[in-house]
């Protein structure tokens, strides 16, 4: 059992290293002078030189890279151009709201997707199936930067039930979570359905049915328990999309998380924050997908023992 786990952790570490390197290169790969990009073409030469030295851009690339890696190990992510505060402190403030939002969206997606998928699978080819899958297709196709404003229009402006934006108590979480969770719910509902349909073909399901097990017990006790593995994998894969979607959703709702921080930083050309934000979200994604794989190994005896 330890062999697949160790090799999975090993490759995750390689990826983490690659992610750090790519984020470092991001700013250097860009054609032209990063300092000019930051300060604009009309900046004073003395300002340029000062910034170049402050960023260590006058050193050779390998040296800059080593210094950057050394900083990462010490959790020293540099200082914000804008506020001069340590980037690590700024990020730390923004992490809880993002966890709250993505957690709520994920929970909502699962709560919606499982019944929807079960309903569709039970009435395969029927009206309910078409309805559920049509709903899911729209959910997949609707962009969150459009769904968000629509929800604000209906529930905040017309009905006045929820605040328009900001993070102020559980009610303010509802619209952002729905906006972010809808796409995931739609993808998951499709997966629950197809995974269930596959499981329902299995011999043991037929045996259970022949023994007179009720359809409801069959679905919830027998089929779902085996159908949820592919769903779990998909959740792990989709977390990247969820985190990416959080960037836009947070901007729509002025939700004070890492995503809206990143967009503000890009608009302000505050590159230390951009770098650290991209790094943080990507590392979180690597961590979660590795954990998903490990859980997979742990819960599926065919992998664990095979």
């Amino acid at each position: 059992m330890t062999q697949p786990i160790l090799s999975r952790i090993g490759s995750a570490l390689v990826v983490v290293f690659g992610v750090c390197t790519l984020v470092f290169l991001l700013i250097h790969l860009v054609p032209g002078d990063p300092v000019e990009t930051m300060l604009g073409e009309n900046a004073h030469p003395a300002d340029r030189q000062a910034l170049r030295e402050a960023l260590g851009l006058d050193e050779p690339l390998p040296e800059q890279y080593l210094r950057y890696l050394g900083g990462l190990v010490r959790l020293d992510l540099g200082r914000s151009f804008q506020s001069q505060r340590p980037v690590a402190d700024i990020l730390a403030e923004r992490i809880p709201p993002t966890l709250e939002l993505t957690g709520a969206a994920l929970a909502l997606a699962l709560v919606l997707a499982v019944p929807l998928g079960v309903l569709a699978a039970r009435s395969r080819g029927g009206l309910l199936d078409s309805g559920a899958m049509g709903f899911s297709l729209i959910g997949i196709s609707i962009p969150n930067f459009w769904l968000g404003p629509l929800l604000i229009l209906v529930f905040s402006l017309w009905l006045g039930w929820t605040p328009v934006s900001g993070r102020d108590g559980p009610i303010s979480l509802i619209l952002p979570a729905v906006t972010l969770g809808t796409g995931l719910a739609a993808v998951l509902a499709r997966m629950v359905r197809s995974s269930l349909l596959e499981v329902l073909e299995e011999d043991y399901v037929r045996t259970a049915r022949a023994k007179g097990v009720s359809e409801a017990t069959l679905m919830w006790r027998h089929a779902l328990r085996n159908a949820w593995l592919p769903v779990l994998t998909l959740v792990g894969l989709q977390l990247g999309a969820l985190l990416g979607g959080a960037v836009i959703t947070e901007t729509v709702f002025a939700w004070p998380g890492v995503g809206s921080l990143l967009v503000e930083a890009i608009q302000n050309r505050d590159y230390p924050i951009v770098q650290a934000g991209v790094l943080l979200v990507s590392l979180a994604y690597v961590l979660v997908s590795t954990l998903t794989d490990l859980v997979y190994v742990w819960v599926d005896p065919r992998i664990r023992l095979g």
Binding site: V15, G18, V19, L237, V247, L262
Partner: protein, 268 residues
């Protein structure tokens, strides 16, 4: 039902393409500011109303169709070519080259795609070219992984072995004997890729990182309209519905193509 599910999206996509191609031929005035028509609701002479500067929403929508089509096709073409070459060459070469390619692909997959595109677009600066470059820098990975997997299973086929025995070089084997066989799944992936690129372009423009004003994009139209949502909902509804219809149609066609070509793709 089955016929309609293909025909309806096909018609919608044809309309989209026609609008995009015909936009420069029509006498459109997307940038014409008419202060007397600010936030005017839809009317006979302006079917979709006017925006916050009194510009006709329909004209801007048509120009926006051009933007989204250009980005959708540009991104998919660039990513598919780049990804196929990298994935195909890696699988064919094997050894450390393949290992390096796999690790690179893994690293790119570790970034939530839109996040990397947002950062890249922010660093590269606004403009339609940079949007295409940013999205293709993220998009090639899916094609590389797909083609690599295909070529790995195909490269031991008899016709490839025969071509090699006849003295064909690696490049010729890849381009003439392997890549054509990977076309079916590639087309399905590219179809979904168009939907992804169109949404991503609109998303970048929504964040202010895409095409710049006064150039119209459905994403920037939504962003500009949000401020006037209560008094002029048509500003947000029109581009959003257009975007939804295009993406929905592409996804429906992608599903149909996948079923038709009987392909199982790992949908991430």
């Amino acid at each position: 039902m089955g016929g309609l599910r293909i025909r309806l999206p096909a018609v919608l996509l044809l309309l989209w393409t026609a609008a995009a191609l015909a936009a420069p031929l029509l006498a459109l005035t997307p940038d014409h500011i008419d202060l007397s028509r600010i936030l005017a609701p839809p009317a006979m002479d302006s079917p979709l109303g006017d925006d916050d500067l009194g510009r006709p929403v329909l004209d801007r929508l048509l120009i926006g169709a051009r933007t989204s089509l250009a980005v959708g096709l540009g991104v998919v073409a660039l990513s598919a070519v780049l990804g196929s070459l990298v994935g195909g060459a890696a699988a064919l070469a094997g050894g450390w080259i393949d290992l390096l390619a796999v690790r690179t692909i893994d690293v790119f997959l570790a970034f939530p795609g839109i996040l990397l595109a947002i950062a890249l677009a922010g660093i590269l600066g606004p403009g339609i070219d940079n949007v295409i470059i940013a999205l293709a820098s993220v998009g090639w990975v899916g094609y590389a992984r797909l083609v690599r997997a295909q070529v790995l299973t195909l490269k031991q086929r008899d016709h490839v072995v025969a071509a090699r025995a006849l003295g064909a070089g690696q490049g010729r084997i890849l381009l003439r004997h392997l890549l054509p066989l990977t076309l079916a799944p590639l087309i399905v992936e590219a179809t979904f890729g168009i939907a992804g690129a169109v949404v991503a372009e609109a998303g970048l423009s929504f964040l202010g990182l895409g095409v710049q004003p006064p150039q119209a994009s459905w994403g920037s139209m939504i962003r500009d309209g949000v401020a006037y949502m209560l008094v002029a909902p048509h500003l947000v509804l029109a581009p959003g519905v257009a975007l939804l219809l295009v993406v929905l149609s592409v996804n429906l066609l992608g599903d149909a193509l996948r079923d038709r070509l009987d392909i199982r793709l790992p949908r991430g």
